[in-house]
Symmetry: C2
Subunit: 380 residues, 2 copies
Amino acid sequence: MNPSIAATGGSIIRALHGKRRPTSINLGLGEPTLMPDVAHFERATAWVAEHGCRYSTNIGDAELRAAIAAHYGYPGLDHADNVCITTGSQEAVYVALRTLLDPACDEVLVVEPAFPVYAKIAQVEGIPCRRLALDPSGPGAFDPDRILEAVGPQTRMIVIGSPSNPTGRVIPKAATKKIADGLLERGGPPVYVMHDEIYRELIYTDDAGEFGKVYPYTVAVNSLSKSNALTGLRLGWIIAPLDVMPHLVKFHGWVTSCASTFAQRVALEIFAANQLGIARPWYAAQRDGALAVAREIGLDFIEPEGAFYLCVRVGASDTLAFAEQLLLDRDVVAIPAHIFSPILAGWLRTSFVCPLADLREGLERIAAEALEKGTLPDRA
Amino acid sequence: MNPSIAATGGSIIRALHGKRRPTSINLGLGEPTLMPDVAHFERATAWVAEHGCRYSTNIGDAELRAAIAAHYGYPGLDHADNVCITTGSQEAVYVALRTLLDPACDEVLVVEPAFPVYAKIAQVEGIPCRRLALDPSGPGAFDPDRILEAVGPQTRMIVIGSPSNPTGRVIPKAATKKIADGLLERGGPPVYVMHDEIYRELIYTDDAGEFGKVYPYTVAVNSLSKSNALTGLRLGWIIAPLDVMPHLVKFHGWVTSCASTFAQRVALEIFAANQLGIARPWYAAQRDGALAVAREIGLDFIEPEGAFYLCVRVGASDTLAFAEQLLLDRDVVAIPAHIFSPILAGWLRTSFVCPLADLREGLERIAAEALEKGTLPDRA
């Protein structure tokens, strides 16, 4: 048995979901509840009827890769050969971390609060990992100076999720540019920035930085999961500099061989129809409603500029125990946000993918639980 | 950059395919040319229209796992919780090797000739790998005594592909039983047998051993790729003992999160319709035709008892150079079989998934190339 796999804990998010009841108000969801456009599946099925469903190349369908490269248009990363199609962004993250870092001498820097999987993969794979916690509630959620200061001599990759899971915060353009310039001025071997852009199509601000636009050593990972309500399709990609692509593709081949041919046909339909941002107006309205509800109830929250999460403060010192008790006492699933960074101890991640009436009911129950448990004494 | 990824060579099979021309006779294919049953895709699409396409659990759909467990019925491995759904058998192999072996102290034993990916993954991941080459042309292709003798004190897994890629040889029941008994008598920590069963539904003998039937520490990997002409669906699975399942599932979650919900619906349709062995009669007829053609042309070959490959002897000392020259001179793609084991130096792997007329033309050109190059002097 591999001891580092045995020693690393599983997903608290999945474990909490496993305990929910049919009656539960589920604010723990990390995926859209919208329905995908089934016409894309129908056309992909018609394609299979004509062509079969044979292996893709390891790197993925050339037409799809060209469409993705063109859609983002990151300078120097805008050729089809800058794109490798993966089994969701999870495999994209796994392959990028494994291929671009040498555990014997390289270090990865994760800007947190962030999705726990980056640090977990580093732990399992023996990659030294430095975690930088930045206060997500203020203007310094992606403080470029603190990020640059945290880059050590062994740092070869910085992981930044923007929009952030769990906070929904978005890195501003100026911060992106300052980090890029700082890294370029440093000299020496390149420090890659892995920009997890999984919520890129769900942004509610005009000031959204994209590393691919300003930094040549960007590794952008993304998928159709959140933008097009297709978490179950497992279709993602890596955009990366040409010189590292052969290695990424080779390792990806050993891990999963190639992405699904069917899923790539669905993706081609979506890009051809230019439907990546199709759900943004719905989420923007949901966000406005969610903020209004949270204000009305009087919970402290972090104002999201992207994604579909709302972090609310409950003040509990043991955040996991609070979340478990909340499910037992009041039948509400919410994610203890300390798992994204200790800086979010006492916070819960809720999501506004559910009907707003459910969100209101859930947030009211959360506030009631905090009141009863006395975890927000300033409000008692 | 990860040095072991950079240092490990890519796929010679994929590289040769990359050089083929539109006119080429392709005997290099490792996938069916049959068309899949598109009705399954249509029903899966209708399901998506009703339910969306949301995340699966990490381990996979419970109904599908129950169907797979019941289909194989391996004693003690026949519960839904003995099955984890993966992104094709490639991910199944990757996850099993990574999870069940500790690179610091465990060794994997690969019985060859075998698909090169087992040894390559071991190399990339720093897992000590012992390779046992057994003569694939005689009765000892899976010699149980030699396999048991090769098990060292650090061996914690034996990898056996049966039916074999590239030879099509099938391990007999008695050999399977003898290996199982020998391993159980050994005592000490369990030695897992990873039985790659990817060609299990394409067997042309009654005497086919299945480790799952006789050995409790079996890890069986399989997929719908070869049985149902669905290489592009990327739907595979691991069947394994209950005590290791949580670790396999956890690591699988970090690598790809979960299998495709759509692909799992297609798989459910196939199991419900009991269509796993549907293509066997066609392949059996192809095999008979292929053997007749090879005999007529007078090439030495290894008689396949399963899969869809025919290894033929060309005698060249540099097998890769012969295959590359064959493509240049005579426009035929065939795979140099030394990549599956040095014991197959001088052999080519051809496949009989193409029309038999193409196979005849291809084998005639191979024989002509060998004659011209004088690599089979006994025939000159």
